[in-house]
């Protein structure tokens, strides 16, 4: 064991001599269409955040690569520097700000929504599924409903389909294609199809990474000013999507 460690350390030391340039590793979940998902014909990360992130990197003159990470451990692995940013449909909120910092939001405050098998599903006394450590899970916990948490967004919807949960609560943009393409199986819960929640989605960075944050903030401002960010939002979330003023 000791020998192995020494050998590994020696190897690591010699390989570390090469000069390292600025490569920014962008962390994402890859399971949250249309924000981020794995393109099934190429196997690459794709989606709104991929396209936006690549454009931001181009404007900030950074060399970026994409990394997939489970949602559960996405903040711990950012903090321990396995990658440098998070773009994973992560809403800016106070709780997260204590651990990481955010750029300015790159989407307006996107609404969340309840979807269920019946439009009159009981979302205040019933069982509602949501993804672990999301603002939606926090909201359900406070609403009085029984919260059923899952590690991936896909499982939260599957739980409704197989009757385990009465309704699912998630970002409306994530649920919308699922509801539309379910042939009437899934419907919005009456009066709860647009629940304003959160402060908008931002890019997460380590608190010690002030320089990188400034670069991305500047790039986001530039994209807001020339309207290209709104164009991108329209492309991925439809003409009716909420836009920046």
């Amino acid at each position: 064991m000791k020998k192995l460690m020494l050998a590994a350390a020696a190897l690591a030391l010699t390989s570390g001599m090469a000069l390292s340039q600025d490569v920014v590793r962008m962390g994402t979940e890859g399971a949250y269409p249309p924000y981020n998902f794995v393109n099934d014909s190429t196997g690459e990360v794709d989606g709104f955040e991929r396209e936006l992130g690549d454009e931001l990197c181009k404007r900030a003159e950074l060399n970026c690569t994409w990394v997939k990470n489970d949602w559960d451990s996405i903040i711990p692995n950012l903090v321990s520097a396995n990658y440098d940013t998070i773009m994973a449909g992560m809403n800016i909120n106070e709780e997260r700000k204590q651990v990481i910092q955010f750029t300015q939001p790159y989407t307006p405050a996107m609404p969340s929504a309840y979807a269920a098998l019946a439009a009159d599903a009981d979302i205040e006394g019933g069982v509602v599924s949501a993804q672990t450590s999301t603002i939606q899970a926090g909201h359900v916990a406070e609403s009085g409903a029984t919260l059923l948490e899952f590690a991936t967004p896909d499982e939260t919807v599957a739980a409704v389909r197989n009757g385990e949960a009465d309704a699912v609560f998630a970002d409306k943009d994530y649920l919308a294609p699922l509801v539309e393409q379910s042939n009437g199986e899934l419907v919005w819960v009456d009066g709860h199809d647009t629940v304003p929640l959160g402060e908008g989605i931002g890019m997460g960075l380590r608190q010690s990474d002030a320089e990188l944050k400034d670069k991305f903030d500047a790039a986001i401002t530039a994209m807001k000013d020339d309207g290209s960010l709104n164009e991108l939002i329209k492309k991925w979330f439809g003409e009716d999507a909420m836009l920046f003023e």
Binding site: A12, L13, G16, V157
Partner: protein, 293 residues
Amino acid sequence: MFASCSDPSALEGFAWLMCYLTSGTHLLFYASFGTVLLLLAITAPIALLFGFGGAMASRSRIAPLRWLGKTYTAMVRGVPDIIFFLFVPIALDQGLEWLRHQALCDSSQPVWQGNDFVVCAAAKLPLSTSPEWVHQTYGFATAVVAFAVVFGAFAANVLYGAMQAVPRAQLETAEAYGMSPRQVTRRVLIPQMWSYAIPGLSNLWMILIKATPLLFLLGVEDIVYWARELGGTKTNAFTYPHPDWRLYYFLAILVFYLLMTWGSEKIIGRLTGRLSRGQATLAGEAMRKTGGA
């Protein structure tokens, strides 16, 4: 993969399925079976080596070495596997990065800055500039170490027991021939102990096969990761939309694991037979009477 797959929405039935099963993500899924087999192929010998070292240390006449061996087996066997699987890769990664930080960077910079574990760019492991396969190999290697440490401790206990089980008379005979203690160990004890170790080791092998889905926990994209990813409901945002097919994917994995363990049992059965031949055990005796297999 095929030219006809450029527009899958126009395809139906079998043609669609063929295109679907050869999509980019499916090729990654098939490759992940290789990852699992590779993990087994690399981990098993290393774990056996760890086990052998642990068993020899536990039997050593030098007290500190003996304590080391005993502590290793007792400690690792006494802690839930999952805790070790989560602990070892993180500790290893941060330990190595800390070492490199001390050696390569301005070490007056603190590594812990608030919540953040930050080492300078040159100390990153692997470097941010490294291609993706280096990152994946590194993640895989830390997983191998974690598996080897855990399964090595169990193997150490099995081998220690097997060494104790070799009949004293056989060792005494070797001593009577004038062999030194080291020669006795090398020429008699170790060759003879395998017959006693095989049942325990085969158990461990089976458990190791079944423990490979833990790779998923370590962030390695293994077959369980891909089954969940590919099986989930796919909307029109994807090239190949489909409803929830996780059941079929998990069924395929189930069959894979059953085949693996079934094949292993066959091979272990043969090995047991081979090692029992001529042994002064019940199995060896039975073979002698039937004329030996």
